[in-house]
């Protein structure tokens, strides 16, 4: 499967979904006005990936900011990974947050309570 690699901008995150390398990464800021437009290709890609996933998929989320319009799209991304997990494949989410950023930690906990995938909360200490 062709990987998705998108360079980050001040308003959109760096994306790397690469089944060959086993990398599933969202990093940076996600604050576009139209997040559906940005996330749709990712959700579509995962729709294909779910038919033939790796034995173990590790998702790394390293977001500094995200807006409420992205929050729903990020949930849609997680829902795709949840389907893979339900089909008896190993899936884990590593949710990174900067030291003292309780808001970002809580945001991770929100997803953890909605999505049935194991989450690991990792504090980035400078």
């Amino acid at each position: 499967m062709e990987p998705i690699i998108i360079e980050g901008t001040p308003k959109t995150p760096t994306v790397r979904f690469d089944a060959n390398e086993g990398i599933f990464l969202l990093e940076g800021r996600s604050i576009p006005e139209n997040s559906v437009e940005f996330y749709k290709p990712l959700v579509d890609w995962l729709d294909n990936y779910k038919d033939n996933p790796l034995q173990k998929t590790v998702v790394e989320i390293k977001l500094e900011y995200f807006n409420t319009s992205s929050s729903k799209c990020i949930l849609d991304v997680f829902k795709k990974f949840e389907v893979i997990h339900k089909a008896k494949n190993e899936v884990a989410v590593k949710w990174f947050y900067e030291e003292d950023d309780e808001d970002m930690l809580e945001a991770g906990e929100d997803y953890e309570s909605i999505i049935r995938i194991p989450f690991e909360m990792i504090e980035i200490v400078e």
């Binding site: 604050i31 900011y65 929100d110």
Partner: protein, 188 residues
């Protein structure tokens, strides 16, 4: 005398203003406001926790304007703005105050006010649950977060949303929202 946006905006220009803007709210303008304010909050060396809250709240306030403003009234002085809004940011030793303003058509007031009253009558725990409920169950619209913006602002700041609907004409009112972000010292 009817309500004047110019006067209202001028009265907001106090000594502690660090940024203010009124006019068209485009995607580029949002970038410009965010950039300018981010630089200011770095210059004054606020703790990163405060800076992040201000940034987050500002994103939601600006994108609320972007997605939800009414068309400007026919007799309004600035007809060049398709999305007219204003934003004023003050900073003092207690924290930040963000004021956002935009036109709203009179028939939309009830719905918005109900939303705000519901948020203001909720405890922090209830607001957290409300956020999760909307996130999980509500379809996202082309316009954005399906009403999550105000809930998110209330959740991140822990403060009540102060608001006012000022009558402009029969068809329009001017909606203002004041958002307080306490400095970390006050939070402690």
């Amino acid at each position: 005398m009817s309500f004047g946006v110019e006067n209202f905006f001028n009265r907001l220009q106090t000594d502690d203003v660090i940024f203010s803007y009124k006019g068209d709210i485009s995607s580029d303008i949002i970038n410009y406001v965010l950039d300018s304010v981010e630089k200011k909050t770095e210059e004054v060396n606020d703790p990163s926790k405060t800076r992040k809250k201000v940034y987050n709240v500002l994103v939601e306030s600006l994108q609320n304007l972007y997605h939800h403003v009414a068309v400007v009234p026919d007799d309004f002085e600035d007809q060049s703005s398709s999305r007219f809004g204003l934003i004023v940011i003050c900073r003092n030793d207690k924290g930040y105050l963000i004021t956002a303003g935009n036109f709203i058509s009179t028939d939309k007031i009830d719905e918005l006010e109900k939303k705000i009253v519901k948020i203001n009558n909720s405890s922090p725990q209830e607001i957290k649950e409300l956020y999760k409920h909307i996130l999980h169950h509500q379809e996202i619209s082309e316009k954005g977060g399906g009403g999550l913006g105000l809930v998110d602002i209330a959740r991140k700041t822990g403060n009540k949303l102060e608001y006012e609907f000022i009558e402009y004409s029969e068809k329009f009112s001017f909606f203002t929202l004041k958002i307080k972000i306490d400095s970390i010292e006050v939070l402690k």
